[in-house]
Symmetry: C2
Subunit: 154 residues, 2 copies
DNA sequence: TTTCTGATTTGCATCTAATGCTAATTGACA
DNA sequence: TGTCAATTAGCATTAGATGCAAATCAGAAA
């Protein structure tokens, strides 16, 4: 995803308004490696802009995704994650704390794309599911509630 | 997944009752390659047993999954799919009609398992997303409503 | 065969994640 | 400064799924 300033330019060029809500999200997303959900961004954004609407978060994230600035990652467990890293990579997700980490691509794009038994393949997603080091050490499985609070970042 | 008769035995051994609802689902699931959702199984089962509850479908599918007789496949688009094929394989899903097809494993298990940047990986899921041949031919994108009706099978 | 009892089913409430809708607000430009 | 389309925010609604408790029933025991 481009830098907040570059994005601002893009938005201006498209006659889109530069509301503070957007600018805030641009900055919270830029170089964010935490793979946040809409809700987690909402919590973070609310600290700096109390009263911001969750609806706006969804709205803006949707726009950015449509513009190709964000990648949507849905691993089938919990909510959709938003990833400003639009490069070709995959993900590991901890089934205990739900933290998500990048996994640099292992499968050669050649092998993965354009093969699927004779179908037109647009996208290949690889998800590694397991336990992160941190969760592996503490024995306890943490409650889904406490998990949500992990991904503060940026 | 085992055959209906084998499953019946397993259930008896565990002092679980052999209700007709279960037997019906056993038979609708056995060797079913359509990767049905709970709802689609509900529709199918309702034809033979009007009045069967969707809650029971979810219940029974959950039990079978917990017993390792079914594989849950969640591709992040639409509902969870249930797969009686518990072998090591992956999936192609058509983003137009949502049909799901098996993709025989391409990644060597060695390469995929036990690698993810230093995490304990339990499972690797590969999802190919695109358009199936049928949808590729007809231009039109079909409505999500009409799509649901494809997966009649067994 | 009848009785008894815990397993099962079912309907309904509830939940999470997300989207639809619309009135109120506001940035940008004339 | 006024205008107006873009944007926001609040609320309703949806899809998919699970929690809960009363009613039902398979099958062991008598
Ligand atoms: Mn990533
Ligand atoms: Mn399969
Ligand atoms: Zn973890
Ligand atoms: Zn298709």
């Amino acid at each position: 995803m481009r830098s907040p300033t570059e994005l601002a330019q893009v938005f201006r060029d498209k006659q889109l308004k530069l509301k503070p809500q957007r600018q805030l999200l641009f900055s919270r997303l830029h170089q964010n490696k935490s793979h946040p959900t809409a809700e987690s961004l909402y919590e973070i954004a609310s600290k700096q802009m109390p009263g911001i609407s969750l609806r706006t978060i969804y709205q803006t994230l949707g726009e950015l995704a449509e513009m190709g600035e964000l990648q949507l990652v849905d691993v089938g467990i919990g909510a959709t994650r938003f990833d400003p890293n639009t490069g070709d990579h995959h993900h590991f997700v901890c089934e205990s704390c739900r933290a998500m980490h990048d996994v640099d691509i292992l499968t050669s794009p050649k092998m993965s794309l354009r093969r699927g038994g004779g179908f037109a393949v647009n996208e290949v997603g690889v998800v590694f599911c397991g336990r992160c080091n941190r969760c592996n050490h503490k024995q306890q499985v943490r409650s889904p509630e406490s998990q949500a609070k992990d991904k503060a970042s940026n």
